[in-house]
């Protein structure tokens, strides 16, 4: 038995996209315990509810995260719509679904690139981000922003997608799908990728359940949880099944996210096929509502929870956002126990950490 020592890991580390600090208690080359600490980039977004009115907050909350921004804005709007007691027009629901799935695609492609980078496959990393760029172009074409969409409002959406643009999205994602097939073959069949991902960082179904893991991390351990099945927005009209894997290792998490990109493409096809031909894309809400609401949505990284309490004043009393990365951190600490030091970076990446979301 070797001597125990502590290695500080992060907040600045080549593999980390965002700052998280983990104290790794190691014995020889093996991690015995991992103690995370967060709080390097706290911005106090939740306390801004005192100073910004309910409509301005849509834009503030959207900027919680630079990757899954659309989901945050949409989640807040859904929560406020619940308090106002209004239902958004059907076309707005489909538009939100299309944008949300495009945002999931770009988030997962970004993550696949980061994963390839983490296990040292630079070429694959470039290809993932090259494909992601096409998704970003579609997003810019329809919303005007590349990662911050700013199209949500309480009661619907601000911008419509024209039929020509819908057709263009429909054909573009088919091209993206063809390019993804090449990437998929490499991720799933290449033995160098397999040797870095298989059997590493295993979380069993029981552990994932007990530690409250969310999103692809939970689904990779065999838990069938996908908040989209709750049927919010247009998901109630679409036909899909959550992608589940049983292995619970790094490869399973990679597989789930990779297949979810294909699933998103399928969902966008379905949504474009079913989108109603209406002109109404939003309804106006007036006044300061009273009430509280609690909404759960499926972000690319997992389940996000929104809570709003309003009491008839121009400013809401309380806004709370539980992000998926926060739910996945206990799972990360569990999988790091017993890991080789050289695999730590890879495991941190496989939970898709979004620390800026977590610290808000």
């Amino acid at each position: 038995m070797g001597k125990r020592s502590i290695i500080p890991y992060g907040p600045q580390h080549p593999v980390l996209p965002e700052p998280i600090h983990i104290d790794l208690v190691i014995e020889d080359e093996r991690v015995i315990e991992a103690i995370p600490s967060v709080g390097f980039i706290h911005r106090g977004l939740e306390s801004l509810v005192d100073r910004r009115d309910i409509h301005q907050l849509t834009y503030v909350i959207e900027r919680t995260c630079g990757i899954c921004s659309f989901g945050h804005g949409m989640g807040y709007c859904e929560t406020m719509e619940d308090i106002f007691g209004v239902e958004v027009p059907k076309r707005a629901k489909f538009l939100r679904t299309i944008w949300f799935e495009l945002s999931r695609m770009h988030s997962h492609l970004l993550w696949l690139g980061l994963l390839a980078d983490a296990f040292g496959y630079e070429n694959l990393f470039y290809q993932c981000w090259r494909i992601r760029e096409k998704v970003l172009d579609l997003i810019e074409m329809t919303t005007g922003g590349r990662v911050i969409f700013s199209v949500n409002k309480i009661g619907g959406v601000l911008k419509d997608i024209s039929p020509e643009h819908l057709r263009l999205i429909d054909s573009s994602i088919d091209d993206i799908k063809a390019e993804l097939e090449v990437i998929k073959k490499t991720f799933i069949e290449d033995s160098t990728v397999q040797s870095r991902l298989r059997g590493i960082g295993i979380i069993t179904k029981e552990q994932a359940h007990a530690l409250g893991c969310a999103g692809p991390v939970a689904r990779a351990s065999g838990i069938r949880c996908d908040m989209r099945k709750r049927g919010y927005e247009a998901y109630q009209f679409l036909d899909f099944e959550p992608i589940i894997s049983d292995a619970g290792d790094c490869f399973a998490r990679c597989y789930c996210r990779l297949m979810e990109v294909f699933q998103s493409i399928d969902l966008i096809h379905q949504a474009i096929g079913m989108i109603p031909d209406e002109t109404d894309i939003s309804i106006d809400v007036k006044g300061n509502p009273t009430g509280e609401s609690f909404i759960r949505i499926e972000q690319p990284r997992g389940e996000a929870v929104f809570y709003v309490k309003a009491s008839g004043k121009p400013h809401i009393d309380r806004f709370r956002l539980r992000t998926p990365t926060f739910a996945n951190l206990p799972g990360l600490c569990e999988m790091l126990k017993g890991a080789e030091l050289s695999d730590v970076g890879l495991m941190v990446v496989t939970i898709d950490p979004c620390i800026s979301c977590t610290e808000r």
Binding site: Q56, R63, G144, S191
Partner: protein, 153 residues
């Protein structure tokens, strides 16, 4: 399972043209909806301050009497909420981005002297009309009071 699954694609990439563009030699092509930066047609502005109240990052100030509209472009988050709220639709979102700069300075737009003079003239006229109306009202009240006093007698 095999090694070098990506090798054929990687080799093909050697003969493909570059995906990236050589900015700034080839200019950036924005989409129609690209949210670049806010521009104002200042002479159309009525100084109502709706944009100031809408702005989530407090980047705007308006001085109605001086005909000035000020934006701190480095505070602006280009969300487009002011464009949405503007009742005169004199605010617009341009497709080009704000250029970087060494200071977080503000940019002030002032109405042209002709428009300012016209507005001052209109204000004066309105004030004159209001004063006339007030005088007429007072005269009417005084006449009514006098009539009432006469009746009482």
């Amino acid at each position: 399972m095999s090694v070098l699954k990506y090798a054929p694609e990687a080799l093909k990439n050697l003969f493909r043209p570059p995906v990236t563009t050589s900015y700034p030699f080839k200019p950036f092509e924005p989409a129609d909806r690209t949210r670049g930066r806010i521009e104002i047609e200042i002479d159309q502005c009525i100084g109502c301050g709706m944009c100031v109240r809408a702005c989530p990052s407090s980047a705007l100030t308006v001085d109605k009497n001086a005909g000035k509209w000020t934006i701190n472009r480095f505070d602006c988050i280009a969300c487009g909420f002011c464009v949405e709220k503007c009742p005169k639709k004199c605010l617009s979102m341009q497709q080009f981005y704000q250029e970087p700069g060494p200071e977080k300075n503000e940019v002030t737009y002032t109405k042209s002297p002709e428009v300012l003079a016209e507005e001052a003239r209109k204000r004066e006229e309105a004030a004159k009309k209001a004063a006339e109306a007030k005088a007429a009202m007072e005269a009417k009240k005084a006449a009514e009071a006098a009539a009432a006093a006469k009746e009482e007698k």
